[in-house]
């Protein structure tokens, strides 16, 4: 086994440090521009912020879920991307702090926080037991506590594993991942109810949590593929990552594209055919105004086009092509969140505000900067992963 691989990524890949610097500068610039919006159009600022925030949070939570799934399922795809998964989850403390603006801007986002509105609305009075500010904050605190705890222990043990190939560490991580996935499933579901579904507090859909989790998994895979492609162009990973790894990741991404479409279509078909007043409202203003073009964009770019492209074996084995699809999917993920949030605030028709562009850029660049920052500190491959040899050991020793 090559001794150099155990060094921190920073020393092996000199491009990481300048990339991080550029990303932070770009993120800060976009953030400063966006802050103007806080004074010109405060409601819009928070709406766009929620979208941008959930987009980057989805990348981190998706990576957390994939990391835990990989602990249980194994597979070469997870061995080559394990450090990317880990770095992505370690952005969570930053994201925890970045959640605070949503709490501060809750009056602009959640109509149920207005006492006068609730006083006039029987349904909201019924829901007050759940939809009230103290409980909302307590739940958010619980979600972040659970996620941060999972991130903390998984990453700490992963670091221990770098030092010693003790199989007990791998077993411990597996045990935590089993319970952790269960905890993730429940917290991510209720977080999606809290932060997204309750924007329209009258509306409800039981598949919503699953739909959002599918989206998070897809965001995470797209990030992984893009990052791995970038890394595989330079040493040391250029000699280690082979088309098979991309093929596996591409297949997983295809599976998540299909899952997302399946969940979305299930929700649409069932609500459409039931046509009940309390449910169909969600689709009425989305499908009878200019928003329908956003819906159509999703059908094409979140499902049809990536689906057809990812069926091809050649595409999945060509990192450059796969990365382009992954970037397209990231854009589609953002549009999906836009579709979930923005129409609730502009029921008359499609409105795209400049903050819908600058805030995702700001948070996206900051997230990516943190991701690179976290990536630099550790070895780029989990050398003591129990499946390391099987996944790429032979290739690695050649280098």
């Amino acid at each position: 086994m090559s001794p150099t691989l155990s060094q921190p990524a920073d020393q092996l890949i000199p491009e990481l440090a300048p990339a991080q610097r550029k990303l932070f500068v770009a993120g800060a610039a976009a953030a400063v521009v966006s802050l103007v919006g806080l004074f010109t159009n405060r409601a819009q600022f928070f709406q766009s912020y929620l979208m941008a925030y959930l987009f980057v949070l989805g990348a981190t939570l998706g990576c957390l879920a994939l990391a835990m799934i990989h602990q249980l399922s194994g597979g070469a795809w997870g061995v080559v991307t394990r450090r990317l998964l880990g770095a992505s989850t370690r952005v969570l403390p930053v994201l925890t702090v970045l959640f605070i603006p949503i709490l501060l801007g809750r009056h602009y986002l959640f109509v149920w926080t207005h006492a006068d509105v609730v006083a006039r609305d029987e349904v909201l009075q019924h829901k007050q037991l759940f939809l009230n500010t103290p409980f909302f904050i307590a739940r958010a605190a619980l979600y972040f506590a659970v996620w941060n705890a999972l991130v903390y222990f998984l990453n700490r043990w992963s670091l221990e594993q770098d030092k010693t190939p003790d199989p007990a560490i791998a077993r411990r991580m597996q045990t935590l991942s089993g319970g952790g996935l269960l905890a993730y499933g429940l917290t991510a579901t209720f977080a999606s109810f809290d932060w997204l579904m309750s924007i329209d507090p009258h509306w409800f859909s039981t598949i919503y949590g699953v739909l959002l989790m599918g989206g998070q998994g897809l965001t995470a895979l797209a990030v992984l593929i893009a990052a791995l492609t970038w890394l595989s162009r330079r040493p040391p990973l250029d000699a280690i990552v082979v088309p098979v790894h991309f093929h596996d990741l591409g297949n997983l991404m295809l599976a998540f594209v299909m899952l997302w479409a399946y969940f979305s279509f299930s929700q649409y078909l069932i609500i459409f055919s039931g046509n009940l007043p309390e449910e169909i409202t969600w689709y009425v203003h989305r499908l009878h105004t200019g928003w329908r073009f956003v819906g159509l964009t999703l059908v094409l770019f979140h499902f049809a086009i990536p689906f057809l492209l990812l069926l091809s074996r050649r595409v999945k084995r060509t990192p450059d092509l796969l990365m382009k699809i992954a970037l397209g999917i990231l854009a589609a993920r953002l549009i999906d969140l836009f579709w979930l949030i923005a129409p609730e605030f502009h029921k008359d028709g499609l409105v795209v505000h400049w903050l819908d562009v600058t805030l995702p850029l700001a948070l996206g660049a900051l997230w990516l900067g943190c991701f690179v920052w976290q990536l630099r500190g550790r070895a780029i491959l989990p050398l003591h992963d129990p499946q390391f040899e099987q996944a790429l050991g032979r290739v690695a020793s050649v280098s």
């Binding site: 269960l182 078909l269 069932i270």
Partner: protein, 452 residues
Amino acid sequence: MRAPATPPVIAPGHTFGTVTDKITSIVLTNKTPLGWWAGFLFVSMFAGLLAVSLTYLVLTGVGIWGNNQPIGWAFDITNFVWWIGIGHAGTLISAILLLFKQTWRTSINRFAEAMTLFAVVCAGIFPLFHTGRPWLAYWMVPYPNTMNVWPQFKSPLIWDVFAVSTYGLVSLLFWFVGLIPDLATLRDRATGRASRMIYGMLAMGWRGSARHWHRYETAYLLLAGLATPLVVSVHSVVSLDFAVSVIPGWHTTLFPPYFVAGAIYSGFAMVLTLVIPIRKFYGMEDFITMRHLQNMAKVLLVTGLMVGYGYTVEAFMAWYSANRYEGFMMWNRMTGPYWWTYVLLILCNVVTPQTLWFKRVRGSVPALFVISLVVNVGMWLERFVIVVTSLHRDFLPSSWGRFSPTIWDWSTYVGTIGLFLTLLFLFLRFLPMISIFEMRTLLPAAKVTEEA
């Protein structure tokens, strides 16, 4: 490189010859074991009961069942969904695990696929006979007829016709194509003239040439690709039978994935229920090892948790919706006249499988057998709860009703179990229950060693 404690997928010490001998000897023998006869006679009595029940039904009408207004669907649909769900394990094991390159599927896939087919047969009986006039069942198929009548394409019931028939057909093809090389082995090893003829015809001229194998591999992979969406689509369509309506308890967006998870859950429970006694009876512990049982136990735990997630979200949303009918539906499920079915369902499907978190439980064959039985019961109860408790009290209290199954409801249900097991006994006796040639590829001797 996994933890060394993991048991192997095939016990050490086997060679190509012993694998072939072991599996073919069950089929190519003149001495049918007495236990087989005893079991076969026992279960075929129940299959006979099914014949009696259905004959009486056709002669009399569906009035012999307990279905009524408002409970127009009861045991029939409960059983239909239960059987269709059981079939899903077979498709998942054979198609998805094949695509995921999970070699442990090899010794159980043949068996699970057979189970799928027989489960689809049993499932099909219920809607067919519930129409009351099964001889007119072809009216469900869209064909240009002189009456100029078409099925209602907007109805998920017609989607069911397509989904289930496609499922049955693809499962049959997949199973048969997978059998061909083994049928050829049986043909070559058979001593009797009749068996040589029959296996020879079924083997369709298989000679095992390189070209045959090449075609075979391509066809099998294509069929696996075709079967994969079916794992999801069939039970999604079944769930839509309920979900596209506006009945509280049926109309909920989570139904498609939640039904699919439940289907896989019940399917794996049934595989365990059947495989545990069979591996014991035929001494197949070398091929169907603890590794298989443990992996299936893990699938059971995961899908059980998914189903539990479904129950949780459903109950929460019934309250959160602030819709009084939704709220009442959940309240009625938990405290109404059928409360005990709901409580039992939670005990069977959510509480019991939590024991599978423990390695000791996953490693204990008797425990797994008991848990699998409990889950089978639980998944039946789940469908009963969904179908009956949602229907018996919907919007208008003046139209509320009760359902109690008649003797014919029970005899038809037990009868399909009899038919299912009868077919299974025949399968075990006349076809190789484990894929011989795929097992051989698992042997160390089959691995090409790489010399640099």
